[in-house]
């Protein structure tokens, strides 16, 4: 900010006082605007891609009953023979009014169709994210506290191996063990009554969430452990030890708050990863979420649905990114690690 040094008149007096910096607010505004721009770009790209598809929504619906007359009639009904730009524009203006259009496959409003799916996927993502974070953080702290012990080494090796496992392998193994062959504790698929909340039958959520948790825990664990180890070696903590502060206090009060900042980034990234990982899990467990909806929407060439789902995913990504940076920024002023 500039400090004005001219002799002040009353009107310019206000310019003399420098503005207070609002890094958080500025960042939010800037990132928010960029986010919106990104969303628009994404929607244009996806729409353009759908125009290059072989076959369209009409042939996707009619399959082997498609005669030229039936195709033509359906295309007209769906507005598919209008020029592409006009179709996109109609869609965009609709979205700005909160109307995401009607599904080309069955005529139902996209917002209802996708809305329910969003909730279902969100439940999986949030549950897996929170549980995974808690387990990862807990294990990380423990491993750092018992650094170089057998416990620590075993966890490190196991987590390195698990991060490399494909998700569907984890899912298949879990199903074999807990649902189909070894024991039958949990259902192998979810049978959803549309309109009911996903949490109304918790047993059905166990295996899908467990798969996702297993996939993200190693990342959170390793990050937490690494930054805890780092924090435990700082002068600040050494001082507390010399002063005779009890061990658990050192861990939780002195070291953990300082170690949490880099882990926030990883936690954020884990949530982002979950958004994609949820696709395989939904396929495996027949879970009616966004991933399943996207796959069938593409298969049906249902452009309004594709657009809506893609937008939701992109918005989720952008939002989590912004949130992660905000939390990091909020947490980091407290990070004090004076090093020699």
């Amino acid at each position: 900010m500039a400090i004005v040094t001219t002799t002040a008149t009353p009107e310019t007096a206000r310019e003399l006082t420098p503005r207070k910096p609002h890094p958080m607010r500025d960042m939010l505004i800037k990132r928010g605007l960029i986010g919106i721009l990104t969303l628009v770009l994404v929607s244009i790209l996806v729409f353009a891609a759908t125009q290059t598809l072989p076959g369209n929504a009409a042939s996707a619906v009619l399959l082997n009953t498609a005669t030229p007359q039936r195709l033509h009639a359906l295309e007209q009904q769906l507005g598919l023979n209008r020029p592409a730009v006009e179709q996109y524009w109609t869609w965009l203006t609709g979205v700005l009014h909160g109307n995401f259009g009607k599904s080309l496959a069955n005529g139902q409003p996209v917002s209802t169709l996708v809305g329910g799916r969003i909730l279902n996927s969100l439940v999986l993502v949030v549950l897996a994210g929170v549980i995974g974070t808690l387990i990862g953080v807990g294990l990380g702290v423990l491993a750092a506290a018992r650094r170089d012990s057998v416990f620590d080494h075993v966890l490190s090796v196991v987590s390195l191996a698990v991060t490399a496992l494909p998700e569907f392998v984890v899912a298949v193994v879990l199903v074999i063990f807990f649902a189909a062959v070894v024991v039958h504790w949990f259902p192998a698929v979810s049978v959803f009554v549309p309109g009911t909340a996903p949490w109304s039958n918790p047993r059905e959520l166990v295996l899908p969430v467990a798969t996702l948790v297993i996939v993200i825990v190693p990342y959170v664990f390793r990050m937490m452990r690494a930054s805890m180890v780092d924090a435990l070696e700082s002068d600040y903590v050494q001082m507390a030890r010399l002063k005779g502060v009890p061990r658990w206090r050192i861990l939780l009060v002195h070291a953990l708050p300082n170690a949490i900042a880099p882990t926030i980034q990883v936690i954020g990234l884990s949530f982002l990863y979950l958004a994609g990982g949820v696709v395989v899990v939904e396929y495996m467990f027949n879970y009616p979420g966004l991933g399943q909806a996207l796959v069938s929407a593409v298969s049906d060439r249902d452009i309004p649905q594709i657009q809506a789902i893609v937008l939701v995913l992109a918005a989720f990504y952008i939002a989590v990114n912004i949130l992660t940076d905000v939390i990091s920024l909020a947490v980091s002023p407290r990070r004090r690690l004076p090093r020699s």
Partner: protein, 297 residues
Amino acid sequence: MARRSEAIAVLGRAVRTPRGATGLVIAGLVVLVAVIGPAVAPYSTTQFVTSPFARASSVAWLGGDVLGRDVLSRTLDGGWELLAMAAVATALGVAVGAALGVMAAYYGGLWDSVIMRAVDVILAFPQLVFALLLVSILGPKIWLIVLAVAISHAPQVARVTRAAALDITERDFVKAMQILGIPGRRIIRKDVLPNLTSVLMVEIGLRLTYSMLVIAGLSFLGFGLQPPAASWGLMINENRVGLIAQPWGVLMPAILIALFTIGVNTFTDSVARASLGVGGRATEPDAELALVAREVS
């Protein structure tokens, strides 16, 4: 020149650690199986040798697949395509990403903004979803899968190389060369890139793991290589229905994919540690922090 041997020195250090050696050996074994496999397979991949989902027998050591073909032969034959696709996708993604990242760092200004905005747009997608969208729209053709995976790698690689390159381009000796009028391309080639080798090596390792996971994941969802190709991902999908009766059709390719990715991941981990230790600048916890941060993203 000094930097090239530095890269080799880093690799050498990595191989000598227990983690590095284990990772390299495991991954190497899988590569060996994939490369030599087709030559030692007892049957062809399309021959019907037993009944569908037959159990392991003297005729078919790992039993039959969904059409009664030999699981062992198809497993031996089903790796090289997958590995080749993963390798090419990785190489392409890293090359393009690194180029973009370096250009953004070196030239700055408008270049930087445009490239980074494009990166943000592509990064607004989970990697798997992005590849899935492309492939399900345009059909599961090999070149398309490779391209889709490469494009999904490029942004992350660009980000990482940009950050690493900025570190260098901000330094005085580079600025000095610019003032002297040495062309940008030469500076990049001779001074910036060589300093990025360890960063790139780690990126290649990480991206290779992800390429394998995404391509196998696509096959599992039915969007990868199509029949009658013998490919590990496809085998998992088409034999899934007989999992209870005859698990080898699914387990064998899954185990091989897992071993490969675990091996590569472990080796990459050791390379990253070795490279961060080089120069003796960072402490161990710092190195670990930086490493995990790279691995997760």
